[in-house]
Symmetry: none
C-alpha cells in the first residue's frame, strides 16, 4: 500500500497550528509497515482539493485526509471525496440520531443549529468509522483500486478513531508485522557515525536503519518486518548486537521509546541509575540556571535521590552557599575549571550527597567582560570524592548553549558512574 497523507485547512497554511496529525499518522503507519509516500496540505477549497486527489493517485493507491469534516460551510472534504468518485451524499438517519444524542450530552450550552445536520450527510457506499469524541464520523471509500479515508481534524477525535477503527481496518489488508528499536549515541557526530556504520547503511534491507541528528546527540532507528513479532524482534536485536560491537562505546541507551516527543533521554538514564543504585544527588547551576534540576525532576520518584539544587548565578551565592574561594574567583574568574571544581565539591559537601553536578559558563549574547568567548562552559561532576571537570565550547543562542551544557553534564556523569561500576 502506498499512502499520501493530506491535511485540509487554511489555518495550517497560515501557520496558526502545528500539523501534529501528520506526524502521528506517519509514525503509526510506519509501525504497521505502511509506506507513506508524501504529505500534502491544502486550503479549504474544492477545486484545489480535487486537484490534490488527482495528483495523489498518480503515485499512491490510498489517500488519508484529516480535517474539513466539521459542520461549517468551509468543511468540504466529504463532499469533495464523493465528487471525486462521482458519488452523491445522503442523509444518514441512524448516524444523525447518534450525533444528536452526542450533542445533547456533551454540548449542553450549545443550541443545535441547522449546520449540525450537515455532519450526517455521507457519501453513498462509504464505510463509516465511529467518532466517540465528536460528531463527524470517519469515512472510507474504495473505487477502481483507489481508496480515500477521511478523518476528523481535531487530534482528540482523530487519534482514538485511528487506533480503534482505522488501524485494524488497514491491518486487515496486510499480513506483515513490524518492530522498531532505537539506539541513542552521545560523543559522536552524525557524519562520523555514518562513516563508521557505512557498511550497514549501504547494505540495509531488513532490518532497515535510519540515522537522526538531535542537538548534541544521534539516534539510530532499526526496523524489521516479519510474519510474526517475535521473528521481527529477533532480526532487530541481532542487528543491534552487531552495531554494539562496532560503536558500543558511544551508545547510551537502547530502547523501544518513540522519539517524536523527546530530544534526549540522558536525564532519564541518569535518574534510573541513581534510583537503582540508591545514590543521592545535588546540583549547583550557574549557566544552566535550574534547567538540569528541572530535567531531573521530570522523572517520577526522583525525590528519593534528588536532595537539593542551587541556582548560584551570582558570584556571591557561589561563595556564600557553596564555599567557592573568593581568591579562586578573583584569580581564574567564575567561568573556569577551578571554580567549577570548587562548586561541585562545595555542593556535594553542603548537601552531603553521593553525586553532584556543577555548571558555569558564558551563555551570551555578550561575554563576561573578560576575553573568554561566549559558549565557553565548564561542567563538573562528582562521585564519592572523585571529581571530573570538562571544558566545552558550544555554539548557538543562550538556550542552545544551556541545552548542550545540560546534556554534556548528564553524559559526563553517566560515564563516571559507568566507570565506577566496571
Amino acid at each position: 500500500m502506498n499512502v499520501e497523507l493530506m491535511s485540509v485547512g487554511t489555518e495550517l497554511l497560515l501557520g496558526d497550528i502545528v500539523n501534529t496529525n501528520v506526524t502521528y499518522l506517519s509514525r503509526e503507519l510506519a509501525h504497521i509497515g505502511i509506506n507513506v509516500y508524501k504529505h500534502t496540505t491544502v486550503g479549504d477549497n474544492k477545486e484545489r482539493l480535487l486537484q490534490a486527489f488527482h495528483n495523489a493517485f498518480v503515485k499512491s493507491d490510498t489517500v488519508i485526509v484529516t480535517g474539513g469534516l466539521g459542520p461549517t460551510e468551509d468543511d468540504i472534504t466529504s463532499e469533495c471525496a464523493a465528487a471525486y468518485f462521482g458519488r452523491t451524499s445522503y442523509f444518514n438517519e441512524t448516524l444523525w440520531q447518534k450525533i444528536e444524542a452526542y450533542l445533547r450530552k456533551y454540548r449542553k450550552n450549545n443550541v443545535l443549529t441547522a449546520n449540525n445536520r450537515k455532519t450526517a450527510y455521507v457519501p453513498e457506499g462509504a464505510l463509516l468509522f465511529e467518532n466517540r469524541n465528536g460528531t463527524a464520523p470517519g469515512v472510507a471509500l474504495e473505487q477502481d483500486g483507489k481508496r480515500i479515508i477521511l478523518l476528523p481534524g481535531p487530534p482528540n477525535e482523530m487519534k482514538p478513531m485511528f487506533i480503534q477503527s482505522v488501524k485494524p481496518y488497514l491491518q486487515s489488508l496486510s499480513n506483515q508485522c513490524f518492530v522498531s528499536r532505537y539506539v541513542r549515541f552521545y560523543d559522536i557526530g552524525e557524519s562520523l557515525l555514518e562513516t563508521k556504520l557505512k557498511h550497514y547503511l549501504d547494505t540495509q534491507k531488513n532490518p532497515t536503519l535510519a540515522l537522526y541528528a538531535k542537538t548534541g546527540e544521534v539516534l539510530l532507528r532499526i526496523t524489521a518486518s516479519a510474519s510474526s513479532e517475535e521473528v521481527a524482534l529477533e532480526l532487530v536485536n541481532h542487528k543491534i548486537a552487531e552495531i554494539n560491537q562496532l560503536v558500543g562505546k558511544y551508545i547510551y541507551l537502547i530502547g523501544d521509546e518513540t522519539i517524536a516527543d523527546s530530544q534526549t533521554e540522558l536525564h532519564r538514564v541518569i535518574a534510573r541509575e541513581l534510583l537503582a543504585r540508591e545514590l543521592t544527588i545535588s546540583v549547583a547551576e550557574s549557566i544552566t540556571g535550574g534547567y538540569i534540576s528541572s530535567l531531573l525532576i521530570e522523572n517520577s520518584g526522583i525525590s528519593k535521590s534528588f536532595i537539593e539544587g542551587i541556582i548560584c548565578y551570582a558570584n556571591e551565592s557561589k561563595v556564600k552557599t557553596l564555599g567557592v574561594q573568593e581568591a579562586t574567583l578573583k584569580r581564574y574568574g567564575a567561568v573556569s575549571e577551578q571554580t567549577a571544581h570548587e562548586m561541585v565539591v562545595g555542593t556535594a559537601k553542603r548537601f552531603n550527597t553521593d553525586v553532584a553536578i556543577a555548571t558555569t559558563g558564558i551563555a551570551g549574547p555578550t561575554n563576561d567582560g573578560s576575553t573568554k568567548p561566549v559558549g565557553l562552559v565548564f561542567v563538573a561532576v562528582y562521585y564519592k570524592g572523585e571529581v571530573s571537570v570538562k571544558e566545552c565550547q558550544f555554539n548557538g543562542n543562550r538556550n542552545i548553549i544551556r541545552e548542550r551544557t545540560a546534556r554534556e553534564a548528564f553524559n559526563e556523569l553517566r560515564k563516571m558512574l559507568q566507570q565506577q561500576k566496571n
Copy 2:
C-alpha cells in the same frame, strides 16, 4: 508571490519528527503578506523531488524547501534544485574555508570527514545565505520567473537564517510594508476573549486580527499593510488603543516580538521590571524544580537581580535551607498554603531579597499519599514584606502542570508589582 513550502526528509514521512519548520515559515510569510498555497513533504529521493518541483510550479512561482542540505549521502536537495534548472554545482572554496573554520571551532572531537566537503558544493549562479549556526548555507536560485529557495532543516539553523537573510530578501521583492504587533493576555480564556472582541474580529480588514490560544494565555496578532512602515504602524497602534480600552485589564504585554519560539513572555516582563526598579529576587522551587529560575536567567543581564534559586524538592531541604517549620509540614503537608507561605518568607529572608517566589504542588502522575489531588499547586509571591499565596488546580501531565505553575507565579508577581506601583 505564490509560495509552496516543501519539506524534504524521510524522517518526516516516518513521523519521527514534527514539522515545525513549515508552521514557522507559514506564519512568518503570512506576516509579510506572502500567500502560502500548499505544503508538501517528500522523501530523500531525487526523482520524487524533481516531480514535486514540477507539480509545485504549476500553481506557484516560488518554492521554499527545508531540509536535505547536510553532508550525508541522502542530502540531495541542492543537487536536485540545480538539476531542475539545468545547472551544475561547483566547489566554493571561500565557503569551504568558512565551513572548515566552523567545524574546527565547534566540533573539536569530530574528525573532518570527506562528506563534510559536500556542503561546500553549490549550484552555479546561486545567491547564498550565511549559516551562523551550522555548515550548509541557504541558497536562492531564480530562472524563467521561477524561484527556488533552499534552507537547512534543523530549526536552530533555519530560523535565524530566515530572519537575518531570507525575510529581507523576500521583502525586497514586494512594495507593500507589513507591520505586526502582538498583544498578550493572561487571566482570560480564548472563547471569552473572542466573544468580547467579536465585533472587531467580524469586521476586520486592515489591520487583520488573529487569536492564538497558548497554555494558560492568549495571544492576539494585529497586522496592517500600507505603502510605508509608518502608516502601517499607525493603523496597528490605533487598533491596539481600541482593544486596550475594551479588555485592557487582561493585557500583560504589547510588543513586537514574534511568537514562534516562545509560548509566554511573562518571565521577560518580570525580568525587565525587576531590572528597571533595581529589585533583587530569589526563588524557592519545589514542584517547578528549577524551571522558574531557568526562565528568569534566559534574560540577559539578570545576574544583577537574580540572587539565588533553591530547588527544595525534598522536605528536608525545605526545613534546613528555608526554615519551614517541621510542625507546619506535619500539620498541613508540604503542599499547602501554609508551607508555601513559609517557603517564600524563608527564601526572601535567607537571601535578603526584595522579591521572592515559592512553589509547591503535586505534579503527578500519582499524588503524595494524602487525599490531595494531582495538579494541586500553591504559588507564593513576596514583595518587601507583603506575601500573597494562590491556590490553583491544574490539569495535564507533569510538564504542563509545571509550565502552568511557572506562568501563574510570574503573573501573580506581575500583579503585585503593578499594585505597588500604582
